[in-house]
Symmetry: D3
Subunit: 157 residues, 6 copies
């Protein structure tokens, strides 16, 4: 069965990698969908985020794609059935509930499944990572080495 | 008794209409107050949102007004006693509590009453509606037909 | 319009009195409905709680009744339209949402309205009051004098 | 892949049936695990709850079993990989997070997946159902007909 | 300054030990206060819980005491200024807020301070520990060895 | 022991002053750290906020400093051990948990302690203060007189 894990991944964190590992473990394979947001200003371009994810996930049964429209439209197009979401916190939960409900109204046959993030990654977010790196802090414990290097390179520019 | 239901309504959703219907049912009449925010960039102008609400609410005992100041000041000016709020989720709840407490400090005689939105509308927000429409998604199940048409027309521009 | 404020009131706290005062201010009158629970062991009998409320609310336009069935059945019987609930905290909110939704399924014409408790009473519950009194603590700042006296008398027995 | 949906189901509600339907849709089949709790007093025996679920789920690719130990032990014994949970509300979420974390410590290879309940069932719980039925209320909109009948029969005794 | 960490500790978990370690690190010393609840049925007696804590905390600058009244009364008696609480989850937070507010009304000079539990212990509770042990599960990753042994011995009886 | 209370304080509210007063009461002294954010547009400059805080806190054992980097780096530099945070609401709590966890990864020896704000200040935020003042509302009940005057002067410009 085709499962899709959508997100901004700006940048990918160890929390994202943990969700991906668990999802592949359950569904055998996974499509990671990088959202190409036109609104939010991102640190990395969608293509850079795709490349970062592909490096980090090399050897895993994971495909990385970029999509700029509605997630449910992409999932339907590729014949997928399941949207995967990782959950960190209660405030996340409500946003997820809202999105899942809206997605269900748009495509009733596609289900949203939530995977609990490992508790050691439970309070890592891309925004916190960027904030810490911006102030010269060490992010090596919360992102993969490839991402650590890329963030530092990007921020130096 | 005069009750006022303030909001951005950018655009009005079926969730808003549900709250308005229930409030009219309780208080006999209702004033819907469209906030003319100077900060947030809105999809529709305050006047357009007023017109949309008036079309959708035609025949109901509802007056629609635009106001750019503090809600409590407007409510006091028209001799109102009650501010109506609809509640979707827990995160809403805390913001509402904060606003209600501040409003109480500003005008102790005006009460904030919360109406539970119907659960079929519980996870619809104006922001989600705009996000879905922006990506070409179908919003006809979450907004009235008049609003659906207006959003599609506006976004095509 | 007839509004009903149901609860256990075991014992009534200043938080309850605050909600009642605000509800009377809005609706002109109020029926306080004391739940005669067959399950929970209560400190005061339903009759004692009714008497306590009547003493504390003397002179206010409030009627106190005892009811052992579903709140919505009582509200419908007396031709009421509105159930009033006070809200202290987020965890309350979810329980209230669940009850309001169930009540709506039972009686779609009866609405549940939530009044924000004054913030100085926001974290008082009957259970905390009983726990503190049980250990000989001073509850005079969180319950009316009549209730304070009754609780101390009851606990001494 | 074998997925297990554990719970008390005392009684099964339309919310449970909704989760089961979605889980079968995703995983092809499902094992529903009725917890035989030694502590909580239940309305129906574990065997009665199993029979109710089997009647309601007849024709669906669902197996119903009774288990009195740890869920993860059962899942491991039958070679399962996934525990399914339905989520109604934020307070549920935290309990689920706690259980999922503990289960992960007990059996790191078993994942907990959360399915969003349909919003029309989002605030139905077995406890509310029992409370309403206990007071003679109509539960036909929140449980399957078979369960409705069984609850009314059981409560009359 | 004298800081007091009250709780049931039935049994003590690695989460409790983590809070105690952090509190000693900040305040130099700590008094752990074992609540002798007359209501809740506990697995261990207050004396047994005191002995378990003393064994586990040997060599640390921690005193363990039993108290059956209000925590604030004890803290005041020994000239303490601070009540320490560990926080696991949002639902905890609201209960803590309620207790802290009540304690402040009882003794305005005593403050409640919350220490964030280490995220690896964030979803361990005494109740979950007992539930898992009751079903023969392995609790060695969530309690100290001394407690693990004592729980297994106690449950065998 | 050196404790640091970081924040934006744009502007300082009675809620902040309440936390500061309680923290000084516990730790004897306090360093208030004004964040010089490069991102958020603030009403007052960091220097103006520092001056406001110094005026309001005159005579208290409080030092006010400006810092533009990571809080933990500053705390470490001055040999501090504790970061103080005030808590208003559940949504705050999750953000605080996320920041505290990240800070712990960056500097494991520095602890984050949460002080409960007095309930009469529990729903005051700098943002609400600015919103009310922007609309010509009275903020004298939620900020110190010095801040009230400064906000009105600044907004007139």
């Amino acid at each position: 069965m085709i499962a899709v894990y959508p997100g901004s991944f700006d940048p990918p964190t160890l929390g994202h990698i943990d969700v991906i590992r668990r999802a592949v473990n359950i569904f055998g394979e996974l499509t990671v969908l990088v959202a190409e947001s036109s609104k939010k200003t991102s640190l990395f371009t969608a293509q850079e985020r795709k490349t970062l994810l592909e490096k980090v996930l090399e050897g895993k049964n994971v495909r990385v794609e970029i999509h700029s429209g509605l997630t449910v439209d992409y999932v339907k197009k590729i014949g997928g059935k399941v949207i995967i979401r990782g959950l960190r916190a209660v405030s996340d939960f409500e946003y997820e509930l809202q999105m899942a409900t809206m997605n269900r109204k748009l495509q009733p046959t596609i289900e949203t499944l939530i995977i609990m993030t490992g508790e050691e990654f439970s309070y890592i977010s891309s925004n916190t990572v960027k904030e810490v790196a911006h102030h010269g802090g060490d992010i090596s414990k919360v992102v993969p080495p490839t991402v650590d290097e890329a963030v530092r390179k990007k921020m130096r520019l």
